[in-house]
C-alpha cells in the first residue's frame, strides 16, 4: 500500500488521533527486575556478556542545549553497571564524534575488567580511508576511551556503496578495508591483544555479507562476532521496507550456522517499534498488561540463542530502567507470541512511515537540511493521525495546525524539506536505504499543500 492510498483509507478516520499520549510508553512506575540480568557467553573468548548492550549513539543532551550531558551519562552508566549491563557500544563518529570521549570519562570510573567496550573503524569520510588515518582512528579510540585495549572492534557499516565516487558495495569494501591493508592491521592487533574480538557491522548489500562470511569460511579472517539489524519487522519482512534490505532471519541463520555470535542493532528500529498505534498497543496489553511495546521488541531480539547482546541507544534513564527490567531476566518469546508479533509486523508495515531510525549517518546534509528530524516529525504526525490530505476531512484544520506548528518547532525553516535540492549525496550513507530526496520532496509537497489549503 503506498502512502497516498493509505491516506485515502485512514486519513479521515480519527481513531488513531484519539489519544496520542497513549501511543508510547506509559509513565507508570517502571517494571521491577525479577531476577539477574541474562548473560550470554562468547564462544571465542568466553566473555559473559549481558544480553542488554548500552548503545552510545543517542546520548542525552543538556535540556535546551546542544551540549552533551556528561553528568547524566555518568548517572546512567552507573545505573547500568549496577544492573549488570557490561557491553558498551560506541563509534568514532557517534554524537558528532564526541561519543567515545564521553563514554571514556563515564566508564573509566569503573574497573576496566567489569565492562566490554565495542567501537568501530568508521568508513564514512573518504579522507579517513588511508592506512595511516585508519591506524590513527584506532589509536584515537583507545585514547578517547581511556583504555589500552578494545574488547569488540567492528568494521563499521559494511555493505554500503559510494556512488558519487564510482564505488559499488564491493568496491567500497575493498578500497576501505582490504587494498590499504587495514584488515591486516586489525588482525595483527587482535593477535597482539589490543583487539580482543574482531567483527563487522552490516547494513545493505547482501553480496558483501556473503562475501565476508566466505572469507571466514576460507580462513582468510576469523570473525569473532557480527553486528546485524534484527527486529520483528525485519525478521522476514525486510524487503517490504526496502528491497535492498535483507531479512534478519537469513543473516542470523547464516551466522548461527558458523557459530558466530550476533550482536543486534536497531531492535526498536530507531524507536519505531516503541511508538505504536492504539490498536497494536491494545493487543499487546491484552497479552501482557505490564509490558510496553519496546519490551516486546526487546524480547523478540534476544530470543534467538546465539544472540550475544542486544544494543539499545540510551537517552533517558527510564529507557534504561525499562530495558534492564525486560532482560532481568529474559523471558524468551513463545511460539505463540512469535506468531502474534508477525501479525503485528504486518499491521505496522501497512503504515507508510519512513523507515528512518535517526542514526544520522546521512548528516550533515551540505545544504543544511535536518533530514532525521523531518522524517521523525512526519512519522509522528502519521502515527497520531495528523497527516490528512483532504481539506474536507473533519479533522483537517487541527491536523494542519499540529503538523505545521510542530514542523516549525522541531525544524528551523532554513533546515526544512524545501531546501533539499535533491543532490543525492545522502543516498549512499543511509543504512536503511531510504530514498531520502524523494521522501523529502514528498513531505515538502505535503507541507505546501497544507499551506495552500
Amino acid at each position: 500500500m503506498n502512502r497516498r492510498t493509505f491516506l485515502k483509507i485512514f486519513g479521515a478516520s480519527t481513531a488513531l488521533a484519539a489519544m496520542p499520549g497513549c501511543s508510547t510508553t506509559e509513565a507508570k512506575a517502571a517494571k521491577k527486575p525479577k531476577g539477574p540480568m541474562t548473560l550470554r557467553t562468547n564462544p571465542t573468548t568466553g566473555d559473559k556478556v549481558s544480553i542488554l548492550g548500552y548503545g552510545c549513539m543517542r546520548l542525552p543532551k543538556i535540556d535546551g542545549s546542544d551540549e552533551y550531558d556528561q553528568d547524566e551519562v555518568n548517572r546512567q552508566v552507573d545505573y547500568a553497571m549496577k544492573s549488570g549491563v557490561n557491553y558498551y557500544d560506541t563509534s568514532p563518529r557517534y554524537c558528532e564524534g564526541k561519543s567515545e570521549a564521553i563514554m571514556g570519562k563515564a566508564l573509566s570510573r569503573h574497573p576496566r575488567d567489569s565492562y566490554f567496550i565495542a567501537t568501530k573503524l568508521s568508513n564514512f569520510d573518504p579522507s579517513t580511508w588511508s592506512y595511516e588515518e585508519s591506524v590513527k582512528m584506532f589509536e584515537d579510540s583507545l585514547k578517547n576511551l581511556q583504555t589500552d585495549y578494545i574488547d569488540y572492534l567492528l568494521l563499521h557499516s559494511v555493505g554500503g556503496d559510494k556512488q558519487d565516487m564510482g564505488l559499488d558495495s564491493m568496491g567500497l569494501f575493498n578500497t576501505r578495508f582490504i587494498d590499504n591493508g587495514v584488515l591486516d592491521f586489525l588482525k595483527k592487533e587482535r593477535d597482539g591483544g589490543r583487539i580482543r574480538n574482531l567483527g563487522f557491522s552490516y547494513h545493505g548489500d547482501v553480496k558483501i555479507f556473503d562475501h565476508l562470511l566466505k572469507m571466514h569460511d576460507d580462513g582468510e579472517v576469523h570473525w569473532d562476532f557480527v553486528q546485524i539489524q534484527l527486529n520483528y519487522l525485519d525478521w522476514n519482512n525486510a524487503k517490504k521496507s526496502n528491497d535492498r534490505n535483507t531479512d534478519a532471519e537469513y543473516l542470523y541463520n547464516e551466522l548461527a550456522k558458523r557459530n558466530i555470535p550476533s550482536v543486534i542493532m536497531e531492535p526498536l528500529l530507531g524507536g519505531r517499534l516503541a511508538k505504536v498505534d492504539n490498536h497494536v498497543l491494545g493487543q499487546m496489553k491484552q497479552r501482557r498488561p505490564d509490558d510496553t511495546p519496546a519490551a516486546w521488541a526487546f524480547r523478540f531480539a534476544a530470543t534467538p540463542p546465539q544472540v550475544l547482546c542486544v544494543l539499545s541507544g540510551m537517552t533517558k534513564m527510564e529507557n534504561i530502567e525499562e530495558n534492564v527490567a525486560t532482560y532481568s531476566s529474559l523471558e524468551p518469546l513463545t511460539d505463540d507470541e512469535n506468531v502474534f508479533l508477525e501479525k503485528i509486523a504486518q499491521h505496522i508495515l501497512d503504515y507508510p512511515s519512513i523507515p528512518c531510525t535517526e542514526c544520522k549517518y546521512c548528516m550533515p546534509c551540505p545544504f543544511g537540511v535536518d533530514i532525521p528530524t523531518i522524517f521523525a516529525h512526519y512519522n509522528k504526525a502519521l502515527l497520531d493521525g495528523n497527516v490528512v490530505e483532504s481539506p474536507d476531512s473533519p479533522n483537517y484544520e487541527k491536523a494542519k495546525r499540529t503538523f505545521l506548528v510542530g514542523y516549525d518547532r522541531k525544524v528551523e525553516p532554513r533546515r526544512q524539506a524545501d531546501h533539499c535540492i535533491g543532490c543525492g549525496g545522502c543516498l549512499s550513507d543511509c543504512a536503511q536505504h531510504i530514498q531520502i530526496p524523494t521522501e523529502l520532496h514528498k513531505i515538502d509537497a505535503y507541507v505546501d499543500h497544507l499551506k495552500r489549503n
Binding site: Y94, M363, P364, P366, G422
Partner: protein, 517 residues
C-alpha cells in the same frame, strides 16, 4: 455620563488597534481591520469615500469625537494627560490649563506644509509620515510593544512545546523590527508624552493635520459643548481643566475647532451649566477667518502625483561578489552526524525594487504609504520589513531572505488602509506579477557545477521555470533553469529556495508597474 461613554469607546478603539498591530494569528485583521481603514489620513490617501464620508459626517454632526475615540494617538495623549492629573505634582494636578488664543495661522500653515511634503515624496514625505497620527501610533506599537508581546507569546509557546500542545507557537518578529523605525517611534513617543503631559492636546490642535482638518469641519458641527450663561457662576473651573485649552470662560465661548468632545467639562461643572447639545447659530462664528474652502479644495482635490525620478528606482548594480557558491557543491563530505552551518543569505541588488502584490506600481505604492507598519507586522511569510533606504525610509520593503511571497496569501493587501497596497482576492494574487526572475548561470549550481538541483523549478508555484539540458545533444546532461516571463509572478520561491549563498543564483527584479497575467 457622556464622558464615560467616550472613555469606554476610546479604550475599545485603542486596544483593538494595538491588537491589530500585535496579532499574528489573523484574527485581529478579520475583526478589527476596519479600524485602520477609518483613520482619516489613510482613508484620504486610499480615496476611501465611504470612510471619509462617515468621518466628515460624524464631525459635522458632533464635532471632533474622532480625535477622542478613533484616533489612537489622541487617546494615547489623553492617557498621559490623565497620568498627570493622577500622579503629577500635587499643585498642578487640577486646574492646570487656561484658555489660549487659537493658533489658526500656524495650524493652516502646517497643514499646507504637510500636504506639500507628502506630495513631494521621497525623503520629504518621510517628515510628513512622522507626523501622521495613526501611522505614528502603529510604529510605536510595532516596535515598542510588539517585541514584548512576542516575547510573552514565545514564553507561552515554550510552555506549550514542553507539554506538546499546539495552542501557542513561536513567532519571529525580527524582520519586522528595525532600529530606524524603533528610533523614530521612541522619539515620537517621548515628544508626545512630554508635550501632552504638560500642554494637553496642544499637539493635536496645532501640528496634527488631521486635527486641523477636522477642526475646520467641526466649526459647523450641529452638536457641541454649550455653556448656559444663566446657570454659569463664572468659577472658571471648566477652562482650567480643559486639556484642549479651548474654553473661553470669560466670553462663555468654546472654540469648537479645538474641542475634542472629551466631555470632561460637563462633569467638572458644579452648576450643570455645560451640556452637550445643539449649538446655537451665534456660537458657530469661529475665529478661523481664513478662506476655508480653498484649503479644503487643496486637500480633497485630485492629488498631484510627483513623477518618480528614474534615478530613484535605479540602483547601482554592483556585481555582488558571490564567494563560496561552488564551495557548497565541492565541500568536503563531512560525516559527523551534526548539522551543517548555514550560509548567510543577502538580498541581491535589484534593478527595480519589488513592491507587494496589490500595490500596482511603484508610484502608487510610494505615494500612498504612510509607513504605519501594519502590513509588515501582519505579513505571515516574513517577506516585508521596514526599508532603511532614504527614499523609502520605514516603508515596507520586500526581501526573500526569510521567506517568499506565497501565492495564496493576500494579507498585506487586505490590511493596508491607505490604498498603497490595494485589496486583492486570494485567487487574484497569483495572477499579478510583481517581478520577474532572472538566472545567473555562472553561479547556478546546476548550470555551472552540474549538480542536479532544480530546486527553483520544483518550487515555482506557477510552473514558470523549466530545467533544460544545456546541450541539446545530451538531454540528460547538465541542466539549467529557464524562466518563462509570461508566467513568472515574481513571488520569490525560486530566490528564497536557491541553495546558492550569500546571493541566490536566481533573483527577482521588481516590475515598476505590475502586470496582470
Amino acid at each position: 455620563m457622556l464622558k464615560y461613554i467616550r472613555i469606554a469607546l476610546a479604550w475599545i478603539f485603542i486596544l483593538a488597534i494595538m491588537w491589530l498591530f500585535l496579532d499574528f494569528s489573523g484574527l485581529a485583521r478579520t475583526w478589527c481591520g476596519w479600524m485602520a481603514k477609518i483613520q482619516l489620513l489613510p482613508a484620504v490617501l486610499a480615496l476611501n469615500i465611504l470612510a471619509i464620508a462617515i468621518i466628515v459626517g460624524i464631525t459635522l454632526l458632533v464635532g471632533r469625537i474622532y480625535c477622542s475615540v478613533i484616533c489612537p494617538l489622541g487617546v494615547l495623549q489623553d492617557g498621559f494627560n490623565w497620568l498627570r492629573g493622577r500622579f503629577g505634582k500635587k499643585t498642578s494636578r487640577k486646574n492646570r490649563f487656561k484658555y489660549t488664543k487659537p493658533q489658526t495661522r500656524v495650524r493652516l500653515t502646517l497643514l499646507v506644509v504637510f500636504i506639500a511634503l507628502l506630495m513631494a515624496g521621497g525623503i520629504w514625505a518621510f517628515a510628513a509620515k512622522v507626523i501622521a497620527p495613526y501611522s505614528a501610533f502603529g510604529r510605536m506599537v510595532g516596535s515598542i510593544v510588539a517585541p514584548v508581546y512576542d516575547w510573552g507569546n514565545n514564553l507561552l509557546a515554550a510552555e506549550s512545546e514542553a507539554t506538546e500542545t499546539y495552542t501557542f507557537y513561536r513567532v519571529n518578529g525580527v524582520n519586522a523590527w528595525s532600529m530606524i523605525v524603533a528610533g523614530v517611534a521612541v522619539v515620537t513617543f517621548i515628544v508626545l508624552a512630554v508635550w501632552s503631559f504638560i500642554r494637553g492636546r496642544e499637539y493635536c490642535n496645532t501640528v496634527c493635520p488631521v486635527g486641523t482638518v477636522l477642526g475646520l469641519l467641526s466649526r459647523w458641527s450641529v452638536f457641541g459643548i454649550v455653556i448656559d450663561v444663566d446657570k454659569c457662576v463664572n468659577c472658571g473651573k471648566c477652562g482650567k481643566r480643559c486639556k484642549a485649552s479651548c474654553i473661553d470662560t470669560k466670553n462663555h465661548w468654546i472654540d469648537n475647532t479645538r474641542c475634542v468632545d472629551c466631555m470632561d467639562c460637563i462633569d467638572n461643572c458644579s452648576t450643570g451649566a455645560i451640556s452637550f447639545t445643539r449649538r446655537p447659530a451665534h456660537v458657530k462664528v469661529s475665529s478661523m477667518q481664513l478662506d476655508i474652502s480653498k484649503t479644503n479644495a487643496s486637500l480633497k482635490g485630485p492629488r498631484k502625483v510627483q513623477p518618480t525620478e528614474e534615478s530613484r528606482r535605479q540602483f547601482l548594480v554592483t556585481g555582488a561578489i558571490i564567494a563560496g557558491t561552488a564551495a557548497v557543491a565541492t565541500a568536503q563530505h563531512v560525516t559527523d552526524g551534526g548539522l551543517a552551518k548555514l550560509d548567510v543569505k543577502h538580498d541581491p541588488n535589484r534593478k527595480v525594487k519589488i513592491t507587494p502584490p496589490g500595490s500596482q506600481s511603484w508610484d502608487n505604492f510610494a505615494n500612498h504609504c504612510t509607513a504605519c507598519q501594519l502590513c509588515i507586522n501582519q505579513c505571515p511569510n516574513l517577506v516585508l520589513s521596514p526599508s532603511t533606504e532614504l527614499d523609502t525610509l520605514m516603508m515596507p520593503s520586500m526581501s526573500y531572505v526569510n521567506g517568499y511571497c506565497r501565492p495564496e496569501c493576500n494579507v498585506c493587501s487586505t490590511v493596508c488602509p491607505t490604498g498603497s497596497i490595494k485589496a486583492l482576492l486570494p485567487e487574484e494574487r497569483a495572477m499579478v506579477s510583481v517581478g520577474l526572475a532572472d538566472v545567473d548561470y555562472d553561479h547556478c549550481l546546476a548550470a555551472s557545477v552540474g549538480t542536479s538541483c532544480g530546486n527553483c523549478a520544483r518550487h515555482c508555484p506557477v510552473d514558470a521555470i523549466t530545467m533544460v539540458a544545456i546541450d541539446p545533444a545530451h538531454p540528460h546532461g547538465r541542466q539549467r533553469p529557464v524562466v518563462n516571463a509570461a508566467k513568472c509572478i515574481g513571488c520569490g520561491a525560486c530566490e528564497h529556495l536557491c541553495p546558492v549563498a550569500p546571493i541566490s543564483a536566481i533573483t527577482v527584479n521588481g516590475r515598476a508597474r505590475h502586470a496582470e497575467l
